[in-house]
């Protein structure tokens, strides 16, 4: 509010403001506040529900998740609810490094992602769909699966009949079945029967190193604790 008043005063050549000017300043302040108060009320409500153990999910969070979380994480969850602080425009503060910045200290005020966040998610899903098509639908058309089934069933590779398919790894039936299946899908390249495939595997799997390292970093950041670790294991 002080910011708006000062702005209005500066625009005014004389030292006093008219009633209508003061009125517009007030209404501007109100709209600014309304948005922030709405968010505060909503978040406070959520927090109260959690503290009152209102739903089963709230109970799980409060009783099991919160005690194992670190203090910083809990603080982060709570402080997320506080809208960004504003500071007085007229008071010149020396710029000082901060962990949590004031809005006007950034290169530009932060904006919510809006529609483009959903667009981003959609493009990733499109990429997944592309993979799915190329991995399951297209190969069925050129008869890869019949070919593949024969190998898994008979244990003989056409490309090298003297190379028996290994079917026991751990001694646990279900796991061995998966490993047999995967090995059959890898062998043509790994054993270098198809040299182009072999090269592709080296290149592709070699370049998974960086994403794996980066996901490792991301999943151990304070902010991502819990949420990402489980996802990471799930998707890998």
């Amino acid at each position: 509010m002080v910011n708006e008043l000062v702005k209005a005063l500066r625009q005014q050549p004389t030292d006093s403001l008219t009633t209508s000017q003061i009125d517009s300043v007030f209404s501007q302040v109100q709209t600014l506040r309304e948005e922030r108060v709405r968010k505060l009320v909503k978040d406070a409500h959520l927090q109260q529900r959690l503290e009152a153990l209102e739903s089963p999910w709230n109970k799980i969070t409060a009783l099991f998740l919160l005690p194992i979380a670190e203090t910083d994480e809990v603080m982060f969850g709570v402080s997320k609810n506080l809208p960004l602080s504003y500071k007085l425009d007229t008071v010149d503060l020396p710029p000082r490094p901060k962990f949590v910045p004031f809005q006007d200290e950034l290169a530009r005020p932060p904006k919510p992602r809006g529609i483009s966040g959903w667009l981003q998610a959609a493009t990733y899903i499109a990429c997944s769909a592309l993979c799915y098509y190329g991995m399951w639908i297209q190969p069925a058309k050129y008869g890869l699966y019949d070919h593949f089934d024969t190998v898994v069933k008979t244990g003989i590779f056409h490309e090298n009949p003297s190379f028996p398919l290994k079917t026991t790894y751990t001694g646990i039936g279900a796991i061995d079945e998966i490993l047999t299946f995967l090995d059959a899908a890898f062998m043509s390249g790994v054993a270098r029967w198809h040299k182009g495939f072999w090269m592709l595997q080296i290149y592709f799997l070699g370049f998974l190193l960086q994403p794996i390292a980066i996901w490792g970093v991301e999943s151990f950041r304070k902010r991502n604790n819990m949420a990402l670790i489980s996802l990471y294991v799930g998707f890998s």
Binding site: R96, P101, E105, L106, A107, R108, P110, P112, Y124, C127, S128, C131, Y133, G134, M135, Q138, P139, Y142, G143, H147, F148, H158, F163, K166, Y169, L179, D183, F186, M187, S188, G189, V190, A191, H194, K195, G196, F197, M199, L200, Q201, Y203, F204, L205, G206, F207, L208, L209, Q210, P211, I212, A213, G216, V217, F220, K222, N224, L228, L231, Y232, S236
Partner: protein
């Protein structure tokens, strides 16, 4: 795997996500991620492609490789546990915003090492393909899909299946990097032209390989997120 990016996009929407405060990776993790990645992923990958003579060994190693991204996570947790025993983290944290963030050096090292491994791999593969006199081993037999629908050998069919996964994944990764730049700009932590940046990322993908490009982007991103005072955008 691109679905992982969807989840990440949803999690990282809020503005507080980008504060330097929540960027922190505790030292027990920042110091152990790199050894865990090398031991848990790089080593099984090398072992898988090692020219073993014994079919049993080749397939055993390939099976051993399968859960390797999970080894990485398990190793990080184990190493972090021992690191914490050796160097327990002080109860009171008196980090100052003007200090160099404690994890920044470790994280940058992770990005540099993975970048160099990627460059090495990229040049190795490109060199092998360029100097190859074997008609079975060329850019065409490695990276160009055969979209014609006809009966294919097992190796060729599998290569096409892998190729669609390869292109789908790295397209999504390229987008993820570009969106990372866009996101940093959105929350006011960077001043770059997103289109130029993404053209640069695309170029890095071609020159150094997709994983290396990702490491480079993350190196830049880490520095931008770690800044506790952000230079103002120049008035244009």
């Amino acid at each position: 795997m691109p679905l992982f990016y969807v989840a990440y996009t949803v999690i990282s929407a809020g503005e507080p996500y980008w504060w330097p405060l929540s960027r922190d990776v505790p030292p027990r993790y920042s110091k152990t991620i790199l050894p865990a990645v090398l031991l848990g992923y790089a080593l099984p990958t090398v072992l898988m492609f090692w020219p073993w003579k014994d079919p049993n060994m080749v397939q055993g190693m390939t099976a051993f490789w399968q859960p390797s991204p999970i080894y990485v996570q398990i190793l990080i947790v184990i190493f972090a546990y021992f690191y914490n025993l050796r160097y327990p983290e002080p109860k009171h944290n008196d980090r100052k915003a003007k200090d160099e963030p404690r994890d920044l050096k470790d994280l940058k090292l992770i990005y540099i090492v993975t970048f160099l491994i990627g460059v090495f791999l990229h040049f190795g593969v490109v060199y092998t393909l360029l100097t190859s006199t074997d008609p079975q081993l060329s850019f065409r037999t490695t990276f160009v899909p055969d979209i014609e629908i006809r009966q294919k050998s097992l190796g060729e069919g599998l290569r096409n299946l892998w190729l669609s996964d390869f292109y789908g994944f790295f397209l999504a990764s390229f987008l993820w990097c570009s969106y990372a730049v866009w996101d940093l700009k959105r929350v006011g932590r960077a001043n770059v032209d997103v289109w130029k940046a993404s053209a640069l990322i695309a170029l890095a993908n071609i020159l150094f390989g997709p994983g290396s490009a990702m490491s480079a982007v993350w190196y830049w991103r880490e520095s931008a997120m770690a800044r506790t005072s952000v230079p103002k955008e120049e008035a244009s």
